[in-house]
């Protein structure tokens, strides 16, 4: 796995750029307290009242929102939310998809049947509408998106992993492991799981982008939390505060760009990965 990763970065510029972007945002998220110049939620006042819609200055590097909040600091803190949502969604998809795929592929029979039926139901739920309903059901929170992605997107990963497990199961060394009396648990996790980890990783990295984009859409539609700074929230705030009419490009372009960067990084990595996983496409 590590060797494969290394291979990706050696051979694939896309993946390197993608990881570079992630490292950049991870550093920003870690050092947000230092980088940010203001509390992103604080309403700032100036001598003439609320510090609203201020142009960029040393105090407010990207100016302020209509509520007198510092845009730059929101942008910085937004990376935390994006990473938290993106990575936990990736983890949710990877873990659920892997476990389900392993169990379903390895045991087969009624378990497999049941899981595949559940997968059909999950795939039958329209994604964004379901997230909206979930947000209304659970109350506004960034975690809704993670939950929804976990609940609805595992079948994609699960099905592919399942078919991979099915082919692996027929391999000689699995047979010999069985004959030599290894427990099923051991076979699944020691012998099969390592072989499908790359697939889990692929689906996980795809989920990152999904999660961030969905979070943004849900925020935009007004089902997001209002006390957590995310880039989606910033866009929603900018839109409903009429940043377009104010021509406050400095307000609604940067968060959008950050989302694009973060999501495209995931695509870059998964693309690099795909080339390793499906070498047929490779030269």
């Amino acid at each position: 796995m590590i060797r494969e990763l290394y291979k990706i970065f050696k051979e694939n510029n896309y993946a390197t750029v993608g990881v570079g972007i992630y490292i950049f945002f991870i550093l920003i998220a870690i050092f947000a307290d230092i980088i940010a110049t203001n509390d992103p939620l604080r309403i700032n006042f100036s001598s003439s009242g609320l510090a609203r819609n201020l142009p960029p200055s040393w105090e407010y590097l990207l100016g302020t929102t209509s509520n007198g909040r510092d845009i730059f600091s929101q942008l910085i803190y937004g990376s935390r939310n994006a990473l938290a949502v993106g990575l936990s969604a990736a983890l949710a998809v990877a873990i659920l998809g892997t476990i389900v795929g392993l169990i379903s592929g390895f045991y087969g029979g009624w378990i497999d049947n049941l899981i595949m039926r559940l997968a059909d139901i999950a795939l039958g739920l329209p994604f964004l509408p379901f997230v909206i309903v979930l947000a209304a059901f659970l109350g506004p929170s960034s975690w809704n998106v993670v939950i929804a992605i976990g609940l609805l997107l595992w079948p994609n990963a699960g099905r592919i992993i399942r078919s991979q497990v099915l082919t692996l199961r027929e391999r000689g060394y699995i047979e010999s492991a069985k004959v030599s009396g290894c427990s099923n648990f051991r076979i699944i996790f020691m012998h099969i799981a390592p072989n499908i980890l790359p697939l889990s990783f692929l689906y996980g990295s795809i989920a990152i982008g999904w999660a961030i984009l969905t979070e943004a859409s849900v925020s935009f539609l007004g089902f997001g939390p209002s006390d957590v700074i995310s880039w989606g929230y910033m866009l929603q705030d900018a839109y409903s505060s009429q940043a377009l009419s104010l021509k406050a490009y400095i307000w609604f372009i940067p968060p959008g760009l950050c989302i694009v960067l973060m999501v495209v990084a995931g695509f870059f990595i998964s693309r690099g990965y795909e080339e390793i996983l499906f070498p047929k496409i490779k030269k």
Partner: protein
């Protein structure tokens, strides 16, 4: 897998999935915070009025009773009356549906025509500068939030340049006598262009990348090499053989895309004031209009499931290999 009885079985199974989804949704709405009665709060709102509403909405019945009633009515095709509009939910859906279908299909078709051609082209141009530049651009368009693209498109093409109208399906005062006259009016399509272009910009990435990788894969196939040996022209090989084969998964993706885009259009419908099913759902959810929300959600689900099913059927018609297996 595709004989008559299996199609019937598949159909029944779809209804089963629909039932499960409907049940989940029913209970989610009933148990979610907020009350549909809040829409009626007013200074002159009386207790009697409140009780009447509770009775009319059926909220005085137990949850189980409400559920069985909901199932029975849904089976009859009756989604009930919208709490806020007092109109049959089905009428409202039927009114919104054509708008959603047109927007979805129109943008998907633009996206897929462009994506397929550009994808085939990029496969042809493998390892060139064009490819090196295009792929990141395509991935970037797929990464941008739709509403953000919509906001920028709106600000630029409508408010700034005044090329396109900024929303809705018609200008003020234009009356479409029937749905048909609407769908055949140029005025309608003029309003459709901007939202569908934005949507298409977002959607084209998938067919493009899919087509490209399929093409690359197919170009490695023996029958393509054979075609070269046969002395056929490059154009004929690329279009008649490679593209035709590479299109199979793209066609399936298109069908799946219809089901998917349908639910995902919520955002674009909001930005462009487009009176579609997605906006209806958002409105219904945020005003706790259970029957309307349920109806819209079940419709979106039904379309999604149906499209998943059609995608399978489509393979049957496009790929003779699959139909062969089914005959044996």
């Amino acid at each position: 897998m595709f004989d008559f009885w299996s199609i019937i079985r598949r159909f029944l199974y779809m209804i089963f999935v629909l039932w499960v989804v409907a049940t989940i949704i029913f209970f989610m709405f009933r148990l979610m915070p907020g009350s549909p009665l809040t829409a009626f709060i007013g200074t002159t709102f009386t207790d009697e009025q409140h009780d009447l509403l509770v009775k009319r909405f059926g909220l005085d019945k137990s949850l189980f009773e409400q559920y069985t009633l909901f199932l029975l009515n849904t089976l009859k095709g009756d989604f009930g009356l919208s709490f806020t509009y007092n109109k049959p939910v089905i009428d409202m859906i039927v009114e919104a549906l054509p708008n959603s279908i047109i927007l979805t299909l129109f943008s998907l078709i633009i996206a897929y025509i462009f994506g397929v051609i550009a994808g085939a082209y990029l496969a042809w141009k493998r390892d060139t500068l064009i490819e090196g530049v295009s792929i990141p651009i395509v991935l970037t368009t797929r990464s941008a939030p739709e509403f953000w693209l919509g906001m920028i498109a709106l600000a630029f093409f409508s408010f700034q340049l005044d090329i396109f109208p900024s929303g809705g399906t018609s200008a003020a005062g234009v009356i479409y006598e029937t749905t048909l006259s609407k769908l055949t009016s140029l005025h309608f399509y003029y309003h459709l262009i901007l939202p569908s272009l934005v949507l298409a910009l977002y959607l084209q990435g998938l067919p493009l990348l899919l087509m490209r990788s399929n093409m690359l894969e197919v170009m490695q196939e023996d029958f393509v090499t054979m075609s070269k040996m046969k002395g056929l022209s490059s154009w004929r090989i690329v279009i008649y053989h490679a593209a035709r084969n590479a299109l199979l998964p793209v066609a399936t993706a298109f069908t799946l895309g219809v089901g998917f885009a349908f639910g995902g259009n919520v955002v674009i419908e909001t930005v462009f004031s487009w009176p579609g099913l997605g906006r209806l759902l958002v409105f219904a959810v945020s005003s706790s209009d259970y029957p309307l929300a349920q109806g819209a959600f079940i419709f979106l689900t039904a379309i999604l499931i149906l499209m998943n099913f059609l995608a399978d059927l489509m393979y049957l018609f496009l790929d003779p290999r699959v139909s062969y297996k089914t005959k044996n």
